[in-house]
């Protein structure tokens, strides 16, 4: 359903060349739930934007449903992390969900049917006439999910969708997204920096290295399909899988710092300081290393 082949992305600008995605290749068969985890700043968002057709890759190819991606592809919906900025504040909840369907030229009765079904599925049947900013963060993200469902995509991309909601809301939304995936039978690509979340949600977890991004490891999650927050997360198999992913991510981070240490502190050091970037890079790297746990969401 979704293939990524030799994807490579370099940002070139202002005399700085940043290699965000090194060389990525993976395939997501139809109907699978795949999570992508990687350390912060590893190019996850770049990857997702390339798949969504919002950003042209420097090299390589993405195909969705067998067709190469050049611009936003058919049958693909995206749920962004910034729910507050991805909903139209001047439209009511129903109209937000309906707008893509109007753009697609669906008849009114069909649109209404899809909108109602989607809002019911995310538990917002009684929030139709509210404006997004009248809702809590978690509910706003539900609206964004409903909009994606109503669009009837074959592939649903989610870019750290729950990174900005509090922990309890997050657990609810995780269960919601599993339910939605099972009910509507779409292909899910879920990007996150939260290892627990990736293992809990996915049938498969792809671990990325630090930028320039490569696939560090690819792990089947052999947990049963019916998952719940207490039972699944408390089980020994979950702990094993989580440990494996965690170790891989740590390894990827260490490889990255090991590879870069030499030029930065070697003969090139003077030049780096002359550019005035070394201090900044050092502190950023320091924080990076000491981050034993991935960043937790800020509670609202």
């Amino acid at each position: 359903m979704l293939t990524v082949t030799g994807l490579h992305k370099v940002y070139d600008g202002h005399g700085r060349r940043v290699e965000a995605v090194g060389d990525l290749t993976f395939t997501v068969p139809a109907g699978r739930f795949v999570c992508i985890v990687g350390p912060s700043g590893c190019g996850k968002t770049t990857l997702l934007r390339c798949i969504a057709g919002l950003l042209p890759p420097t090299a390589g190819q993405v195909t969705v449903g067998g067709k190469p991606v050049a611009g936003p592809p058919d049958g693909l919906a995206v749920v962004f992390q910034e729910y507050g900025r991805s909903l139209f504040p001047w439209l009511r909840v129903v109209d937000n969900v309906e707008l893509p369907l109007r753009a697609a030229g669906l008849p009114r009765t069909k649109r209404r049917e899809l909108v109602n079904e989607a809002l019911d599925a995310v538990g917002l049947a009684d929030a139709h006439t509210a404006y997004p900013w009248q809702l809590s963060g978690g509910m706003q993200q539900r609206v964004a999910i409903a909009r994606a469902i109503a669009y009837q995509p074959q592939v649903l991309l989610m870019d750290e969708p729950f990174a900005a909601v509090d922990a309890q809301t997050r657990a609810d939304l995780e269960d919601l997204i599993r339910t939605v995936w099972q009910r509507f039978e779409m292909t899910m690509l879920f990007v996150t920096h939260d290892i627990d979340e990736a293992v809990y949600l996915g049938q498969r977890v792809i671990m990325l290295s630090a930028a320039p991004t490569r696939v560090a490891d690819d792990l089947e999650i052999d947990l049963p399909d019916g998952r719940d927050q207490l039972g699944t997360r408390g089980g020994p198999r979950f702990a094993e899988l989580r440990g494996h992913v965690y170790a891989q991510i740590q390894k990827a981070k260490l490889e990255k710092t090991g590879a870069e240490a030499r030029p930065r502190w070697g003969p090139d050091r003077g030049a780096a300081q002359a550019r005035g970037t070394s201090a900044e890079q050092r502190t950023r790297e320091g924080r990076h290393l000491s981050a034993a746990e991935p960043k937790r969401p800020e509670s609202i």
Binding site: R49, L54, L76, F80, R85, S86, F88, A103
Partner: protein, 257 residues
């Protein structure tokens, strides 16, 4: 109670000023500063007679037409310029220059081309009102949220829907700000355009009264213009309240947090 308090605050100063004027001028024998009572009597006679149709309404019509054209042109050009970086870079210096030219000096020039009829006066109003609308629209369109623009792209919302729901609604707070500035500019230019060469209108009448030493009538014209400004800004606020309900709603929610 709170409502009463607000009404009091709203009206206290105007009433006090009005009363002050009334009593201070009551015994005035100065020909140029007649008592307010005389001015009000003249007000009634002057403006609710045939002048309503020969002067007041034509003035309002020219203001309305000029303002509407300026809004249309300002928003259309502003959107076009705001959406294209290259166009913006090309036009910015020229726009800065044109904006800096005080519109009243265009009156003699426009008279050469457009004569002294309604066309010239409407053009003067347009030439002054268009800039605040245009420049604010450009700023508003430039500030469109990247995530929202990405949302439109990935859901393939394009054409008319995108123009309305993404571009114009995003820029609407700035467009309204520009429109508010343009309204006061428009009233000024309406009067000025009628002072140069005209045979009807509010500005024309006031100048005529002054030249004919009809001093209470002249004062009443100034009062009328002030009242007109108040009524128009009230109407503007009602429209703004409807158009930007979402914007004020978000602001209120943010203040609570």
């Amino acid at each position: 109670m709170i409502a009463l308090n607000r009404i009091f605050l709203l009206l206290a100063l105007p009433v006090a000023l009005f009363a002050g004027w009334w009593f201070a001028s009551a015994g005035s024998t100065d020909f140029y500063v007649p008592p307010l009572a005389t001015i009000l009597a003249a007000f009634d006679d002057t403006w609710f007679g045939p002048r309503l149709t020969t002067d007041v309404l034509p003035s309002m019509g020219r203001l309305g037409l000029g303002y509407a054209l300026a809004l249309l042109a300002g928003v259309a050009l502003g959107v076009a310029i705001g959406l294209r970086r290259a166009l913006r870079a090309l036009l910015e210096p020229v726009l800065e220059f044109l904006r800096a030219v005080p519109p009243p000096v265009l009156v003699p020039i426009l008279m050469l081309f457009a004569g002294i009829g309604n066309g010239m006066k409407v053009l003067v109003i347009v030439s002054g009102c268009v800039w605040p609308v245009l420049l604010n629209t450009v700023e508003g369109v430039r500030a469109i949220d990247g995530v929202l623009a990405d949302t439109c792209r990935s859901y393939r919302i394009g054409g008319r829907l995108r123009m309305w729901h993404l571009v114009l609604r995003s820029a609407s707070p700035q467009i309204v700000t520009g429109a508010r500035q343009a309204l006061s500019v428009g009233i000024i230019l309406m009067v000025i355009s009628e002072m140069f060469a005209a045979n009807s209108g509010l500005g024309f009448s006031i100048v005529q009264f002054q030249r004919g030493f009809q001093i209470p009538e002249m004062w009443s014209g100034v009062l009328l213009l002030g009242l007109l400004g108040v009524v128009l800004s009230l109407l503007f606020r009602i429209v703004e309240h409807r158009v930007l309900a979402w914007y004020h709603g978000i602001r209120a929610v943010e203040r609570q947090r």
